[in-house]
Amino acid sequence: VTIHLSIVLFLPLATGLAGAFLPRGLARWAVLAGTVAVLAYVIVMLFDFESGGGLQWVTDDEWIPDLGIRYSLGVDGLNLFMVALTAVAWVPCTLVAAFSELERPRLFFFNLALAETAVLGAFMAQDLALFVVFFDLMLVPFYFLIGVWGSGDRVRATTMFVIYTLAGSLLMLAAAVALGVLATPSGGDISFSLADLQQRSIANGSQHWIVLLFALAFFVKAPLFPLHGWVPATYRSTSIPVLALLSGVLSKVGVYAFLRIVLPIMPDGADYWQELFVILAVFSILYGSILAFSQDNVRLVLAYSSIAQLGFIVLGIFAFEGKGAQGALFQMLNHGLVTVPLFLIVGVIAVRARGSESLAELGGMAFRAPVLAALFLITALATLAMPGSGNFIGEILILFGAFEDKLVYGLVASAGVALAAVYMIRLYQGTMHGRAGPAVESREIDTVNLAAVAPLVAIVIALGLYPNFVVHRTERDTTQNIARVVALSGNAEISVIK
């Protein structure tokens, strides 16, 4: 038992609280320092991590013993890179926010820090109740971040966001409680520990509806068609650094939880819904892609592209096959790593077009901003899963996993790869190429945004060179977490546990 994960978990919150008592100007630097410290900690963890060594740096204490709820944290191959993504993403977003004009900065940065703690907690929790707490806790800071510091029709945006996610959260809360209670053997003690729950058996019929409730919550968060109603309004109004985190990191918590909670604990329920979820995923891929290139607003292009990308991830998870799950997990990381710089670049572009985010008014920026154009190009190519990027390995593993058992769905999903090329190149050309739009005043990317975006692009390139860094570290735990459902669906001979 170590304290490391508790330090990582509460460090952001501590700096946020500290910032609240510091002079107005200093809060942002305190929080930024906190995110950097978390990142440093996580980098050390990345290299200390023992591949295939199961849960590491475990913290496991009683919290509410009467209800069988434990404060239990741990990191294994399944969440190592989710934690890393969170730590990596928060630094540039906080940095960009720190250099922007904000009202009530102390509150803003407190919320930003709290959000990081909540997301880290959701990723590291090894107790279902603890996961639910952190999952719901994420909602709070984002409610304020969107509602108070958003732009445009932010009330509507916040309302939509809250209705959807709150509904999802309540369903999940009910599902979690039901799961804990129904899993308790007669005479046994109730427990929400994930390890315990995996050992216990839940009746098939119960599994079906519990999985559905979880899935609704996670699909809202992802988002997946048709539960993405909150997306357009929220994406339009949220400020750029917050949106980058919302789209890049928060969207992964739900899909991650499928691998961590749903598949290992309720394989029968997951198997029951497999067909439907795969269809939803494939439809999201096509629908999101087509809508993405029908949009004029730059943010909405990325919003619908996220729906398509998350569709790929869900497809990989519900392929119930080792490569598919591996690809899905890797793609969660990759999508986060490209989405954050993409949104930051959108922010940079908008500043150079007097706030306009309409493709009709943009264009021709590459000429005076070659560095911006190059960074954008690399990120855009990675987003469309250009071979040679980590995203390609993620996507090819997802597709290979899907082909194994669901060849037709996989082939339909492949069309999404071509559509991704259409909307990403269109986005790149619409902003960087062609003649300069009327409102465009082309300038090179500023130092702050460069410092935020360039390291992320460097990571994207590095993962393209050596994707096995991630694949190797995640393989064993991913395979184990889907082992039960694989055995159930008859894919057992395909995925061999090392």
């Binding site: 038992v1 304290i3 508790s6 509460f10 919150l13 501590a14 913290t59 204490d61 404060y71 709290l114 703690t117 806790l137 709070v140 409610y143 304020f144 916040t158 309302t159 939509m160 809250v162 209705i163 048709p226 109603g229 629908y287 087509i290 809508l291 029908s294 949009q295 080792g322 591996q326 021709g364 000429f367 070659p370 190059a374 469309l384 250009m386 071979p387 040679g388 390609f392 090819i396 593993l397 597709l399 290979f400 082909f403 082939l411 492949s414 790869v417 071509a418 559509l419 090329a421 259409v422 190149i425 050309q429 190429h433 003649r435 050596y466 096995n468 694949v471 190797h472 995925s495 061999v496």
Partner: protein
């Protein structure tokens, strides 16, 4: 130093060139980026020669060397190393690619002078060569697909190089998307092969394919057809050819390098590389042969009617690759690759000559406006004519030997293949005609004002306009550069065209039936396993084919001479007489319009349907607000935000978290 070490060096130099030019764009002065990039390719060429000598030292059966740098990705049965395969085939491709690329870089040093994007151009060009070398050196499907896609991206970047032109931007996305369709073909094919054979590495796959698949096994045929999708997309074969003519939006040396000499031949390389699979799936190979034949005829007819100089050469390229695809699909691997090489020489040369003429025309590409450049540009005239002769397969030029070897082999297979061979000769007649249609229209006849101006000693300067649309250029950005360059006045262009002109003639002597068979011998270790290894036509039969081909070529050139020089005006009369045919050809058989109606418009209209109807009525309407109950829940929650319930909830949570923190900070130590 082993052959594989040289192989890595072949990759390292262009990559280093890319990085140096790309990162040093702000500080490298004048033409320095051009020279750095050119030397990088030259060093890669030298490394390829080093690898060649090393490989020739090995005994024949050990001339397939694999070297891995690191495990690229491995999970379950999916395992791919970052590995290269150095064998005669990959080395042959490396030599052609680096050799021709070097000359085209050299040409570009002068040709692109005065363009504001000079460094960007050379960074892209080096990156292209690097990607192409990754493609040909790849030892497994994953690295192959990476090289394959990188090449597509480099091509995209160079097509859209003058990105302020609307036409260049549109051509770029078209090329990119069609190339991605090809990539998907390769990905699915790789899956089928992994699934059935259990490996992604070429050599094990080829070894075990015979055990894993029965002849014409359904899965294998599907895999090979998917490989063909990739090959057709990259090599601009029917029906995925539409991007290549538009790709002429790129600078002319790019057309020479990527869209004629190297990248578009990748499909030919792919079929040759995968020949153990195609020979097990003869149905797929036949599809390749038929499509190749159809493409060579189709593109030949379009080249008769199009008037844009570069697009004539582009359709000629599509047609010539048709020959190569047909060749490697009927198992004439040596012949197909031989034609790939000679075509690289003469087609690069033709594009360079065209670039020189376009320079003299101050950017105008329409042949209707050209004429009489013979005296003004003697060097360009002679080299271009040599290129055209080789393209037409004129006796004793390189194209004469290589094209006819493919046709001889095809005829020799007998049966239905004989029909393909005969159609190939029909295509050869078309080729000779349109090749000299260019020569006669550009260099003969009355001198146009631009030609007279050049004879007077200076290069014409027109208003900068987009040659496709006539729109005036966006001159603010300084590219395309204000300067125009002709070979007569810049030595690097001459230095590039001279050797190519020589190679366009003597390149053919590497494989003269009964005299020399250097290419066949060298490639032998790669293709020794072919079932058709001993079915090559006899030297006598090949010479009969050569004589027939030579006669056809001379007749075709003669016909062009008759139509354009002897009886000028014949072309106009023919055009009027066969107006519907001409319209059909000028519109390139209406492929663009067809795809627009079949794919582009349905998808875009679904997009707007989705935006207007599904998003608003269904997602927002039915799901958000359709059921009044949900609406009421929504509004009450919205009201609770106003009245502060949610804030209280949030604060409560916060307090909880704070308490927790405190508790565990105290407890967990």
């Amino acid at each position: 130093v082993s052959a594989t070490s040289y192989g890595w060096l072949v990759l390292a130099f262009p990559l280093a060139g890319t990085l140096i030019v790309a990162l040093g764009w702000r500080v490298l002065p004048g033409r320095v980026p051009g020279w750095i990039a050119t030397s990088a390719i030259f060093l890669a060429f030298l490394s390829a020669i080093g690898a060649l000598f090393d490989l020739l030292d090995q005994p024949e059966e050990e001339r397939q060397l694999v070297d891995s740098a690191w495990t690229y990705a491995a999970t379950g049965d999916f395992k791919a190393d970052l590995a290269i395969l150095v064998d005669p085939l990959s080395l042959f491709m490396c030599l052609v690619v680096t050799g021709v690329s070097f000359l085209i870089h050299l040409y570009s040093v002068a040709y692109m002078g005065g363009d504001r994007g000079y460094a960007r151009y050379f960074a892209y060009l080096n990156f292209f060569v690097f990607s192409m070398l990754v493609l040909v050196l790849a030892a497994n499907f994953v690295i192959l697909i990476i090289g394959w896609a990188f090449v597509g991206a480099a091509s995209y970047l160079l097509i859209s190089y003058w990105y302020r032109r609307d036409t260049a931007v549109k051509a770029g996305i078209k090329a990119f998307v069609i190339n991605v369709i090809g990539d998907i073909g390769l990905v699915v094919a790789a899956f089928l092969i992994l699934d059935q054979v259990g490996s992604l590495d070429f050599l094990p796959v080829f070894d075990q394919a015979g055990d894993a698949f029965a002849r014409n096994d359904g899965t294998l045929v599907a895999a090979c057809l998917l490989l063909l999708v990739g090959a057709f997309a990259k090599s601009a074969q029917l029906p995925l050819h539409t991007w290549l003519p538009d790709a002429m939006e790129g600078p002319t040396p790019v057309s020479a390098l990527i869209h004629a000499a190297t990248m578009v031949t990748a499909g030919v390389y792919l079929i040759a590389r995968m020949h153990p699979l195609f020979e097990l799936a003869p149905t797929a190979a036949d599809v390749g042969a038929i499509i190749g034949c159809a493409t060579l005829l189709f593109a030949g007819t379009v080249a008769l009617a199009v008037t844009d100089l570069k697009r004539v050469i582009a359709y000629s390229t599509i047609s010539q690759i048709g020959y190569m695809v047909m060749g490697v699909s009927v198992a004439a691997y040596g012949a197909g690759l031989f034609h790939l090489m000679t075509h690289a020489f003469f087609k690069a040369l033709l594009f360079m000559g065209a670039g020189s003429v376009i320079g003299a025309m101050a950017g105008i590409q329409n042949m209707d406006r050209m004429g009489g450049f013979r005296r003004a540009m003697p060097f360009t005239f002679i080299t271009f004519t040599i290129g055209a002769l080789a393209l037409a397969g004129f006796p004793l030029t390189s194209g004469f030997f290589s094209k006819d070897e493919i046709l001889a082999f095809t005829l020799n297979r007998g049966g239905g293949y004989a029909v393909l061979g005969v159609l190939g000769y029909v295509g050869a007649a078309l080729t000779a005609f349109y090749a000299f249609r260019m020569v006669f229209r550009v260099f003969f006849g009355d001198a146009v004002p631009e030609a007279r101006e050049l004879e007077g000693g200076h290069i014409a300067h027109g208003e900068p306009v987009n040659p496709m649309t006539g729109e005036s250029e966006d001159t603010e950005v300084g590219f395309p550069g204000p300067e125009h360059h002709v070979a007569e006045r810049s030595w690097p262009m001459k230095a590039a065209m001279g050797p190519l002109a020589l190679l366009a003639i003597v390149g053919g002597y590497l494989a003269v039936p009964g005299v020399s068979d250097v290419i066949e011998k060298f490639l032998e270790p790669t293709f020794a396993d072919s079932r058709f290894h001993d079915t090559a036509p006899s030297d006598g039969a090949e010479w009969v084919g050569l004589i027939v081909g030579g006669v056809i070529s001379i007749l075709g050139i003669g016909a062009a001479w008759w139509v354009y020089l002897r009886k000028p005006g014949t072309a106009t009369r023919l055009r009027e007489r066969f107006a519907p045919v001409h319209t059909f050809l000028v519109n390139k058989w209406y492929f663009d319009e067809l795809y627009d109606a079949l794919f582009v418009r349905p998808v875009t209209s679904f997009g707007s349907f989705g935006r207007r109807v599904i998003e608003t009525d269904f997602v927002q309407g039915t799901i958000v607000g359709g059921a009044t109950g949900i609406v009421r829940v929504g509004t009450s929650i919205a009201r609770s935000i106003q009245t502060g319930y949610l804030r209280a909830y949030a604060l409560l949570l916060l307090a909880g978290v704070a308490g927790l923190t405190l508790y565990f900070l105290v407890n967990s130590s």
